[in-house]
Amino acid sequence: MKTLVIVEHNNDSIKQTTFSTITAASKISGDVHALVLGHNSNKAVGELKKCNHLKKVYLVDREDLSNPIAENFCDEIVNFLKDNDFTHIFTPSSTFGKNLSPKIATELDVQQVSDIINIIDDHTFERPIYAGNAIAKVKSNDSIKVVTVRSTCFEPCKLDSQVDVENVSSKLSANEVVGFVNYDESKSDRPELTSAKIIISGGRGLQNGENFKLLEGIADKLGAAMGASRAAVDAGFVPNDWQVGQTGKIVAPDLYIAVGISGAIQHIAGIKDSKFIVCINKDEEAPIFKFSDFGLVADLFEALPMLENKL
């Protein structure tokens, strides 16, 4: 058995999701390889080379691959797989992987297994369904297993190795039916939601966007990422990409602090793998208390400044 990990990166650095996917791949067999598609990605490749569990890194460098257009990436991967036999193809279950991996599976005429959270054996996996309200154990009968990995469920691999990089030449050219226009990155000095150790999120209880400042001081002191419930995002308090929950980001930090969030099932689905959940809510009947390790029944406008002072 031999596993190929499709690497998520931005040419300058490797995304955390890749490190967790490598760990997941190592549970299939010791034969784990990684494929980087990109352009001028030496810095990212330098980081990847240090990953434990990897036997080898393959690199395809083409200007057309500087942005992850799924059609161009898929063509390149299918081409690579013509000369290289793999039994498993693992991709992070991020928007990058969700966009790309089903295309690879379709080209190979196999059924992808999405968003695995546990590996039972080389063809049996566990994955959440109904927003994590049930867990399905599934068996793939296909000859090649194409899988996306929920990165919060696997520890990132260690970075104390040194593996070889093989440059793979390519004669392919970009698809003309699709083109990159621009990428509007949300700028923030805080950690990314999906990789943060601590997250503090606000809900409708914050009442307006201005009041999210009350969370900022605490986030600064804790080095935390900031998130929000769907209600807060829909009300326009904060940007879309802050949304944590079933339809937003699935997170699993060491500590999740939910402030003024009632705890709708869709929100709980996105946070329940957190190590510790803390909630601050003035309504003691709010469902969020049932899921919290520590709950504080308090008016958030009094509790937050106090918390910030005492941290």
Binding site: I129, N182, Q246, L255, D293
Partner: protein
């Protein structure tokens, strides 16, 4: 231009999911079923594109049991023109096979735009649009939060990706999958619900498509997720900080 919108009948998103005691799946008997919320957004987007004069016909397609006709009717009441049901007694079809069925319909109908929800809230696979685009060899624009027609035969689609928004240009024909904030779906008015009853739904038998739809991924069992152990309510901010320092050892 012609749009094909694919809709799935799923357990309503407000229903609390119950796993069957024999672990074969989740309880679906006497449970409220609705159109997958992301598919409602797909129908709404098609209707808006029609209102803007960009497309002139909307076909609403579903695959499933006879009851899926209700889901198609909902789409027709929102503004779809006609429906197609690919009827199947098996409601647990692999996404790859769903993709092959939709492609079969596309080969006959030749839609310019195919719009689907980014994922169904039952199996949470998030694959069908990508599979279909690959089978059809059309470009894909997944997780769309904005769709704009260009002056040539292409669209600019803004996509919700981790860490920001990405805009790509896709030539028509193409496949679009919808994210949450693309639009807010309308409620069908009573007159439109009545009118939808007169609209045509063609029913095709899945067995007549002569496709190889063998099952690739089997569900061995379905269980409840591990429960979190019950927590405690702390009296004040000081004791909260104390718990985080001394019990959770996080601060």
């Amino acid at each position: 231009m012609k749009a094909l919108v694919c809709v799935k009948r799923v357990i309503d998103y407000n229903v609390r999911i119950r796993v069957k005691s024999d672990r074969s799946g989740v309880e679906k008997d006497n449970v409220k079923m609705s159109m997958n919320p992301f598919d409602e957004i797909a129908v709404e987007e098609a209707v808006r594109l029609k209102e803007k004069g960009i497309i002139n016909e909307i076909i609403v397609l579903s695959i499933g049991s006879e009851s899926s006709q209700e889901t198609i009717r909902t789409g027709l009441a929102m503004g779809g023109d006609r429906g197609i049901l690919v009827q199947s007694s098996d409601e647990d079809i692999d996404p790859l096979n769903i993709g092959k069925i939709i492609k079969n319909v596309c080969d006959k109908e030749k839609p310019d735009l195919i719009i689907l929800g980014k994922q169904a809230i039952d199996d949470d696979c998030n694959q069908t649009g990508q599979i279909l685009a690959t089978l059809l060899k059309y470009p894909q624009a997944t997780f769309a939060s904005k769709v704009e027609k260009n002056s040539d035969n292409s669209l600019n689609v803004t996509r919700e990706v981790d860490g920001g928004l990405e805009t790509i240009r896709v030539n028509i024909p193409c496949v679009i999958t919808t994210d949450l904030r693309l639009n807010e779906p309308r409620y069908a008015s009573l007159p439109n619900i009545m009118k939808a009853k007169q609209k045509k739904i063609d029913v095709l038998d899945i067995n007549e498509l002569s496709l190889d739809l063998k099952k690739r991924v089997e569900i061995l069992e379905v269980c409840d997720p591990p429960e979190r152990k019950p927590g405690i309510v702390v009296p004040d901010v000081d004791s909260l900080i104390d718990k985080l320092k001394n019990e959770a050892k996080i601060l």
